[in-house]
Symmetry: C2
């Protein structure tokens, strides 16, 4: 049986999950795949931290050189997170000819090109299934199952924290602040939740997934991003009445050389398979020119599902003598042939407070109409504080027209406030 | 760029789709994967049949030897269907050292062992992603993404014909006969629909998927199978009222060495992700000990999605110098360690017509109770032809107790008929 010796860098949540799988399911993997995978070394800041997780002391180290200098270790698993020192450690491992399996989406989306070039130069593999959508095999699917297709659309609920918060707001009417607090208490959100709730995490993942899906470099800096902090339970409830569920959606589209990539709150029609992805579950909905629609659904985070993706990469890597690399250089710039569309087409939900006077509504619709924005549905729900809360759902329009119309609407003296503007799928 | 010459055996629907992808997306695949894939030969019963599909005459042949004797052809795609002559042709191709990509679920589930042994002996690859669930990468996921896990459950809607028929019955109230006729008119069902509607197709696929998922041989002959021909729109409507959607479900479970495998109509709770898989779409819902629940959803059939899976196998095969084989021998017998459970546990829906007299209902519930079957919900819906139609939903019970109870119930003189017995997920 082929012996494979692995080192794990960082024994936090995901590193711990990985260690647990490789220990508990060692014999199962050996029987099923003919691989005897041994965790040879575990690195963390201190040896005590490692042994506290049940790792034998002789495998624990705080010195990377113990791993780099051991030629019997062929695969290094990086589960430290963050750009540094993870980036330096991975570069050293690749330079030493060791293959790397990482769960680090931020690092991959920022330094993919450099890492991949170093991997290639040293004949090492670079695998990062665990960097996107936890246990869901979305990278394997894009790389090894969609090769026949031009992917034209990629819609993802790819951040579990925000999906948990939005589900709580939707199903229990919680405010954003309450739902965030509960998510933090459950360990679904960090003390500083910015990376999740402002859409950075989803942006990094979309950069990786759309690059792989569209076979071109999509730098994360080109992705339009909007978080969920301004969402109210009232907006969610109105959307519900009209048959929509609010999701933080990562959207990528490619039509010839026109590409658009964006992360923002989106009302999804309830009939769409993504609408029923609840709580901390994630899903990616893809369309290819031949395969048509497919969706992958599962746990987007957590020690065990993310550990499952890492171990899947370890086995995949160990079974291959020659590694396969991406076909493009993620060098931070768009390919010159690609036209990045910034003026998205979308339908919109708009919530306003208007003076409770005759003729006010027609002023709004006239302005919208003058910019070519036509209304699909409208509703006035009672009168509050002398103002009439009104919502509109528009037909599809371009972003620029909508912004101009809103700008003009905001200046009207009969408009008390524009409370929410949310895109509709 | 690596040149790959491919032959296609059988230019029907799926073979035609494969040819179309390899022609239309040739340059895209070449740019994305560095593979120049050429269809070198297409075989069918007559050359005219092939050229009618737009294949140049110099690539058309009715003689397998034209393919076997061409050493430049490294991959043979089999899209003829049926056990013979497909089986003989594949064996000859493998024996000639050519890798085979096939969409043939019946052949794989009947002769996998022999085919794989021949592939191994000749250093050839054997790939069959397209044999199960069309464009959905379920085999890739089981082989290359779930390696860390013991799969404990596999629930699939893996036959598009029956899912289309049941969806039409559910959403439009059609009878089984009407829905079947419409499915035939649309090309979703064959003139003789037996293989689909009696569950044989799902049984073959479950045999393949559960073998791969559970890492042991599950012969199709060991799978319990029940079709959808006795389903009525009335049962579906009652289920709907109670929050269930009827699906033909393929179910596999493994708990240690206890395995159960079955295909039968099943009421699925509406909250379950499988309940919303409509029309000709398919999905597989898996549970692994580490990954937890995942679901893959997409088109289970059709020229383009199935062609997508075939071409994905062609690329996957062409990119690998060493092929990976299954870890077990599907030799038609269960591994001696495996205990196949025939006495399934399930909740049940029972529909009966009872005499419209006092005390009748309690006779039924007493019998059920005497076999340990407890009732979850019950409903009497009016009186028809002097008989009261009554439905029960039971809690989980074992199959044997339920059968005994039903047998006793059927002999009661107050029971006009037991109209339906459907398992509930």
């Amino acid at each position: 049986m082929k012996k494979v010796r692995v080192a794990i860098l960082g024994i936090g949540t995901v590193g711990g999950g990985t260690y647990q799988i490789l220990t508990e399911n060692h014999d199962w993997i050996a029987a099923a795949r003919g691989l005897d995978i041994e965790v040879a070394k575990v690195l963390d800041k201190s040896v005590d931290r490692i042994t506290a997780k049940g790792v034998p002391a002789n495998k624990a180290t705080a010195d990377l050189n113990d791993i780099l200098s051991d030629p019997s270790i062929s695969i290094v698993v990086e589960t430290m997170g963050g750009v540094e020192p993870a980036g330096t450690f991975i570069m050293k491992a690749l330079s030493a000819g060791k293959s790397v399996v990482t769960a680090n989406k931020e690092l991959i989306s920022k330094r993919w090109s450099e890492l991949e070039a170093t991997a290639k130069k040293n004949g090492a593999g670079l695998y990062f299934e665990a960097s996107c959508v936890g246990g869901v095999p979305i990278i394997r699917t894009l790389n090894d199952a969609m090769q026949a297709n031009r992917i034209t659309q990629l819609y993802g609920i790819i951040n579990g924290t925000t999906n948990y918060i939005l589900t709580e707001m939707t199903e229990k009417g919680k405010s954003y602040a309450e739902a965030l607090k509960d998510a933090q208490a459950l360990g679904y959100a960090e003390a500083d939740p910015t990376a999740d709730v402002e859409g950075f995490d989803a942006m990094y993942k979309l950069s990786i997934l759309s690059s792989l899906g569209f076979h071109t470099c999509i730098p994360y800096s080109e992705i339009y991003r909007e978080g969920i902090t301004a969402i109210t339970p009232a907006d969610i409830a109105v959307g519900k009445d009209f048959g929509y569920t609010l999701k933080l959606l990562a959207i990528g589209k490619r039509d010839g050389n026109d590409v658009e990539v964006r992360v923002h709150p989106t009302f999804v029609p309830n009939e769409h398979p993504l609408a029923s992805v609840r709580g901390s579950f994630n899903a990616v909905f893809l369309t290819g020119d031949f395969v048509d629609d497919i969706m992958l659904y599962g746990r987007g985070a957590g020690a065990r599902p993310t550990g499952s993706a890492i171990v899947s990469d370890v086995v995949y890597c160990a079974e291959r003598s020659a590694h396969v690399y991406s076909d493009f250089d993620n060098n931070g710039k768009l390919d010159s042939a690609i036209k990045l569309k910034k003026d998205f087409e979308s339908a919109y939900y708009i919530s306003l407070k208007l003076a409770d006077r005759p003729g006010v509504l027609s002023k709004i619709t006239n302005i919208l109409g003058s910019y070519g924005v036509s209304i699909d549905k409208a509703m006035q729900h009672g009168v509050a504080d002398n103002y009439a809360p009104v919502v509109f759902f528009t037909h599809k329009t371009d972003e620029t027209s909508m912004r101009k119309a809103l700008h003009e609407i905001e200046t009207l003296d009969v408009v008390h406030s524009v409370d929410a503007v949310i895109r509709v799928l």
